[in-house]
């Protein structure tokens, strides 16, 4: 069994086997998507996804663009 941790993802409790933000994106199948991530209220640059670890209790916001005025 891979080790899983609990994080808070987009306001919900979420169990992930990913160790980094890059791992989380791949777990969700969002590699090709135009998204942005905030970790504990700080925006994480794309260049740091692979080097940013996920730690139990992290508050992650994962956003994209939708229709709006």
């Amino acid at each position: 069994m891979p080790k899983t941790i609990m994080i808070r993802l987009n306001g919900e409790e979420y169990s992930t086997g990913a160790a980094t933000l890059a791992g989380l994106i791949s777990e969700l199948g969002l590699e090709q998507r135009m998204i942005a991530i905030e970790r504990n209220l700080e925006v994480v640059p794309k260049s740091q996804y692979a080097s940013t670890p996920l730690i139990t209790g992290d508050r992650i916001e994962l956003v994209h663009m939708i229709g709006g005025g």
Binding site: R33, M34, I37, V63, H64, M65, I66, G67, G69
Partner: protein, 258 residues
């Protein structure tokens, strides 16, 4: 004649900015945006649905290489949320030109000017080019320009109300005092409202609901395109003076009975 719309470091031929909300599907968003011949389209930032992350996205239809994407802070009710939202948008697409709107309450969707000013100060300091939604208040418009916003966008009437321009006089006053472009945002209901805004001297208009809620979205998009062009030309051409009484169009001499 070249009559381009310059905002910050960007330059456009079109003076019609469109929104992307309320459409029945992405295909219609795309069709109406093309019909409007818009070059700039505003989009909202929201959480990815984690239970269905692979779902298709609007940007699969609206190509960010073809259009200037203008991320907005729709739904934000305080400065902190607005700033967070636009920082995320900048990271998502590299977009530096943004639409700031901080709302006061859900019934009126009127701007919260105090929070708008706070957010504008932070965003300008962080290097954003801020197009800012605000009230039709000339004093606030000037303040937002002084902060360094690249465009001021007074409302014509509440968002989604389609009631036209509540206070044309203020739009004119705001335009005459401003050095940055003035964009009438919110309240446009039909083509004549858009033309009227442009005749008053607005540099552009931003329209969403009036197109998205039309029975024929693409036809209304074309109507808005033409209205914006007509209003702009009328403004540049310079309208005739209004008179209290008639002024004959034909010569008043050489009558056959003289």
């Amino acid at each position: 004649m070249t009559d381009s719309f310059k905002v910050g470091t960007h330059e456009f031929k079109s003076r019609l900015i469109v929104g992307s909300g309320k459409y029945k599907d992405f295909q219609t968003t795309k069709g109406a945006t093309e019909a409007a011949e818009a070059e700039m389209i505003t989009v909202a930032v929201r959480r990815v649905n984690i239970t269905d992350p692979g779902k298709e996205n609007m940007l699969d239809y609206i190509d960010p290489k073809k259009y200037t994407i203008l991320p907005n802070t729709a739904g934000c009710f305080n400065a902190d949320d607005a700033v967070r939202t636009l920082r995320l948008a900048r990271e998502a697409g590299g977009w530096n030109l943004v639409k700031l709107e901080v709302l006061g309450d859900t019934q009126t969707l009127y701007p919260n000017v105090v929070e708008t000013i706070k957010a504008a100060e932070t965003l300008v300091a962080e290097g954003f080019e801020v197009m800012v939604y605000t009230n039709d208040d000339p004093i606030v418009a000037t303040r937002l320009e002084e902060i360094g916003c690249v465009a001021v966008m007074p409302l014509g009437n509440p968002i989604g109300s389609g009631r036209g321009l509540a206070n044309p006089f203020n739009i004119r006053v705001i335009k005459e005092r401003a050095k940055v472009p003035i964009v009438v945002d919110a309240g446009i209901g039909t083509a004549s409202d858009a033309a009227k805004a442009m005749e008053l001297g607005a540099d552009a208009v931003l329209i969403n609901t009036a197109i998205a809620e039309a029975r024929d979205e693409c036809m209304m998009a074309r109507a808005m395109r033409d209205a914006v062009r007509a209003g702009r030309m009328a403004y540049l051409a310079g309208r005739m003076p209004k008179r209290a009484f008639a002024s004959a169009s034909s010569p008043t001499e050489g009558y056959i009975w003289d």
